[in-house]
Symmetry: D4
Subunit: 253 residues, 8 copies
């Protein structure tokens, strides 16, 4: 459009003043475009947009998720309830979308059926106990959605390290680890002390009494002498996306 | 004294009414005695009375400590400053007491020179880092004062467990363990998972930032899946006395 | 297996290089065995493995508990709900296990019917109020599971000490005390001031308002001048196991 | 002045309109007076105004205290430092005031020499430890300033109650008790359980670690099952004034 | 009984040794009696024993409350739910007790029908808002149970003081005030600044967001410059009992 | 009335003494009036009185709201539940009031049908996410009730600023901004950095884990380097009223 | 520059392709300019940039402040220490700047001597106590720097409102109020209940014990029923700038 | 050694039983070796061991640091004071080590003069303000020590993003970003929203009042919607090491 304007200036079809105003207007539009392009921010970072289901009416959620799915061909919904999922599945299938449910992760994926392109990145996900699995699963689904292969070793045990060695062996191809743990939350630091890969600690909201609900776990991960980065309590999505970002970077994606 | 009274009653030397009043008085005195005996409560539990130096003027401290030493032949002073120690030593020596200084423990013991009778109890004291030693030393001095032998393994490291095995071997005779750790404070739980003896966790006020100053350590010890009991942050005295109480109980003291 | 290898080396049946590789492999397996032996960690410490029912689906819980029961002949389930207990009982009885329910402790024990061997250890359990009993019961069941005899004195009263003396008398054989108290939680310190045995304080999540839900109790136990060790709020299991560990140690178990 | 106005109205010396305006003005002044009388609020409640020295420059403090002393004949200064006290004493003596220093209470009283009139009220002040005395002394000085007689029993001990009985006996005339305690702060509840007089608990900022600096004491006093009212941590002034208010009320002052 | 023993000693009917043992036994019983008298502690302080219904099964509650009512002729039950109240009423009426329900206070009183003897004490109870009434009512019922007359002025408003003056006028006979307030909780301090009687502040668990649920109210009452004593959040019982204790003391009860 | 009194004085119809007493009485009434006028405080500040529905029985709420509506012609009810709204609507319509429901704001307005007079003030309300809308709507309804026009731009997004520029453009007439944001709550500071109008930050109780439920948002708004004022978490009413107060002030209302 | 480009296009001096590239480059520069203009953000909002002295070396501070002063003719330095001020003054005077020190506000202003242009805005600043003055002074200096006239009424008293009325009268021209208060921090709410102008509450870090250091004040301001906005504890700068922003807006600046 | 044993077995020089015992012993040594190798854990992860100077006596620190330097040729000392540095430098130079001081990072490096081998990894470090630089510098030194090239952009500004774009451009080669920010701590989330590389947020202990000292920054980073990992407040070492670990992984180191 700028070129056409310049052509008209050259041809004397429009005045210089008029062209100046038009170009100014264009610039303002560019600012708009800049903003719009920014809409693609998360996509550009290789991180899928996620719709948080928590606190949304089932019908609202379905509207929002379908709008996302229509515009980008794919939509991740997190922390979805059974009731929300029922309506979403129905609405999505009517709308011609494939629906994949990850119950333990409390996630649903709408897609046009296309497989996620494999990036070659490998993420290892380890949990201390069984209660940490729901958070780990959220991380797993996101990492897979970002093209990574995921190796998991759940319920490795916080107290004894005997189950940790085979777990690490099982995940030996991982370029990065997500380690989820509640209560005193020491497993991430232990793993970080044993592997030469980045470890992301996820405190899980288990444990009661003093500093329960994941706060002791968050505290011990932040205070740890090991080299370890941390996300918020129960933040499986962030952990999974962060890990996949690293893994994809390592394999040159 | 009651027997003498009864004798006098029998002998008719005193009236029944008089005896009744006297015995009532005796009972009241007994209550007093009961109270007084209660003065010996800590001693009776095998735990020495300790004078907390913190916040006391040097001269006041010296007065109090010497009074204790005079009445019971022995006096433990804890959290003593250099300035307080100088005056106390001088005054105590003038008063004929032997003065033993434990600098790292910030403790001073006044005594008439008698050795503490060995109970046969053995306490193991382990620390994660070098900053935990001052707290461990407080525990050590108290446990020794209670007749126990103490094996120590300091600076075992929180991150790796490689220095822990020789430490445990070194302390294999211990009937009970005191484990001091700051920052994320995971060592006590690790030890409790490896030994079949009671473990007392002592959080140490190290670490900065979120839940620093021993609070993360306290939290992770309380939240731990291991079977572990805990004392307050930096409470070396309590940990040492508790451990010695158990050890002495085990050896039948 | 090593001996056979060595025999073959001697016999020239295998090459030295081959034997070296095999022995290396063996060592790695040993590491595995070491790990596996470690599986017996808790058992080795005399502390039974417990399955935390809280947050598990009834069918999952039943699977896990039965697997434990099958492998070790016995299984403790804690914090079990009525709904979980109904299914567990049914499944366990079908599976030929005896089921013992401790309603107030919210615990269920699966066994092959064998009695727990008596260790000779005696644990005293005292509670300040009636709301503390559920936590005390959890401690009691665990201590009994570890072979101890338990004397209990519930609802001794925090405010007045008049009910404490007969309670202590009743528990005079105890080698160690568990004292559970909510609200201001002062009873454990009072008991610790009166007996010459180790006392384990258990804060109970009662009390409302400022520092309610057991936090004031935890705070006052940690701040106490008495020699006292503490476990997490409502941590009946840990308190009971810790007490039994001490009692069994004292009686030479 | 109103009467004079009305006289002038009657005498026809001023117009009704003028009188109306004047009376309106008077009312506004009355509002002022109301305000001014309100200045006497604290005095009216029988509670002396106190000047908090903390954070004031010595010369500013002296100005303010002398202004108070000049207007009301008497002035209480609290939390005064040595440096502030030196200048205040000098300035006050120059200004013709008698200066009474209460070192442990960190208070100074300026007066014209008149004795405080005895109200007949009796306040009992008890402390658990020696570190609580500075707070207790602040309470004592205020209560005496309000005309009460004060019986004190300091360092009664938190752990054992044996020193409490003679203390209570010593204070048997008290109509109300102030009980100061740090660390776990249980003494006020114990006293409240033994006497049939109102007890005011004052948490003292001692104790370290979890909930140290008087917060555990505050928590346990608020959570206590005993009938007990509480003031802020270290609030000796408030406790003393509140107690004296009750005592004076009881004796009809 | 002692006299009889002494008589037998005199008469030579029993040996001195036997008498000594008997008198020792007597002393021990005395200790028991001392304890037993202590059972009357709360009663002796003029404060009725209360049964906290919260968290008790309806049938357990009924058992406990009736036991209390039978032994002392009267029983207060607090924080009772509708379901608990239904059963209690039924059981109590069957047992021949009169049942008085105070719905807003969530209290039930069992009695033999006797009126509480009027002490002559007068307690003023003021609330800032309507949400504070349930706590105020708890205080009112307790104070009346202790023989006091209660004047109430509810919903006086925290923001404006215009409704406070008639409220204070209405309560001019009160010897002591209970002032309940939630959110920012400033009313108790305002009242304490206007009356020359002791004021007890009760923070009420209203308000959301930062320091909601009564914590801001507690904080502002403790920090207040006014002379004011405070009880725990929602502690209507304690406030009412403390106020009645003061009022009864003032009228010489 | 004063004038009439003065006339009577002049006319000699009443004595000066009598007039004096009457004028004194008048003054006391004035104090009453002063108080009464104070009743109009909120109205006088241009801020409508609001009835908080939360925690009130539907019938009580209806009584209170109708009383307000009858006395001032209009009544705002906030945080109303569906059940409360049903009864209120019915009762209000029977009583001849028009009922306007704002569902998302959880507010109901009773009125005699009169439109709110437009002040000319304009308030801009921006939210970061969809979960913030309920709080924003509360602010919007209040601001409109105070005569302001409100421009809203909801769900502008916290992470990217691309949707913020059109939002600000849309609200360019606003004299003041309310910006609601949960989780990390950074939007208000961003807006305050871009506009030359006062910005009021409202933290919204979203976000889980560490400092969730709006506390992180409150913290980051208070810590912000931008010039920004803040209200309590979820305090839509206060934010809206504060904004309208400023807007109305700017347009000279 | 664009116009020149267009002229060259018209004149055929440059190719269209070249012009397109140049204009693209220009746009990128514009983005730069946009950024640079953004440098003027604070100025544009009418809020002066401030240099926080706290934690800076005296020489660093002087460098930074002089750079600011040179570029914008004026520089505000806040939280400056005596030592920092001495060097800054010396360096600034050497550099030809006028130096104005506001000791109590701990602020220094460097300028070329030009007076701040009066905006006509009027800000009222009120403090509860004398300890709040340092914060109020910080607000005052900023508001004056933004062209406002400031009326102050310091030490109005939190407990009694008698000194508040003349204070409000004195500030009757203010379009907005800053009210600073520590401890329980109730004054801002009281003022907000009495004036029909926006009130900004500033909690001041006074008060000790539970929720001391301004936290109780912050809590009670946020919980207040009055319509009130709040800034961070001790945030005098923000309060002053926010108030001046409103005042200047009202007077059309 | 095993091979030699096997050779001897083959040669019949030793018995099979003897060999068995020797190999068992070897295995035990292996366990020791495993432990010893574990000593190299941090090194193996590519992360240098660091000696925390804080709280160590200058002479102790020098001993420890020199021991490290001697055993591994290189030693990093962090959080070193001026006094400690003076002695360390002297002792290290005497010992033949090269000493590199990083004053702002408060770090000292002892080495034998060898340059760190460049890994090819590039780390971008950005700070919001000047107070964040000390933490950023700690990260920088560590990352360089791990062979990375570091691009820094300090004092980018939290409020405006205008300085951020050139900063990001400057760091366009970075494979990973460390972003340090205090107060409200929003910069890391903003950067994470703009780049497609992993971002590590470091809260810095600046800011006063509510949630000051880095806690608000930590909270807003953990609550952020951006994909972001976090380390403890002021944990520059961890952030730098974690970033270098990622960068080195990306470049295949």
């Amino acid at each position: 459009m700028l070129r056409e304007l310049l052509r008209q200036v050259r041809a004397g079809e429009i005045s210089i003043e008029y062209a100046e105003r038009e170009i100014d207007a264009l610039r303002i539009e560019e600012v708009g475009d800049f903003a719009c392009l920014d809409l693609g921010r998360r996509m550009r970072c290789g991180i899928p947009e996620v719709v948080l289901a928590e606190g949304k009416l089932p019908s609202h959620l379905a509207d929002i998720a379908l709008a996302h799915a229509r515009s980008s061909g794919r939509c991740l919904v997190s922390r979805i309830s059974r009731e929300q999922a029922v309506l979403l599945r129905e609405r999505a299938q009517t709308g011609g979308f494939m629906v994949t449910c990850h119950d333990e992760a409390r996630m649903v994926i709408l897609s046009r059926g296309a497989e996620v392109r494999q990036s070659g990145g490998v993420v290892g996900i380890i949990t201390a106990g069984t209660s940490d699995i729901r958070v780990a699963e959220e991380a797993r689904v996101v990492a897979m959605e970002m093209g990574c292969r995921v190796c998991t070793a759940y319920d490795v045990g916080a107290a004894g390290i005997h189950r940790l060695f085979p777990a690490l062996k099982k995940c030996h191809e991982a370029q990065v680890f997500v380690v989820a743990a509640g209560r005193e939350g020491t497993l991430p630091a232990v793993v970080a002390g044993l592997v030469d890969r980045p470890v992301i600690g996820v405190p899980v909201s288990t444990g009661y009494g003093y500093m329960g609900h994941g706060r002791a776990a968050l505290a011990s991960m932040l205070q740890s002498c090991s080299v370890l980065a941390v996300v918020n309590i129960d933040a499986g999505f962030t952990a999974g996306a962060y890990a996949a970002q690293i893994a994809n970077l390592v394999v040159g994606q």
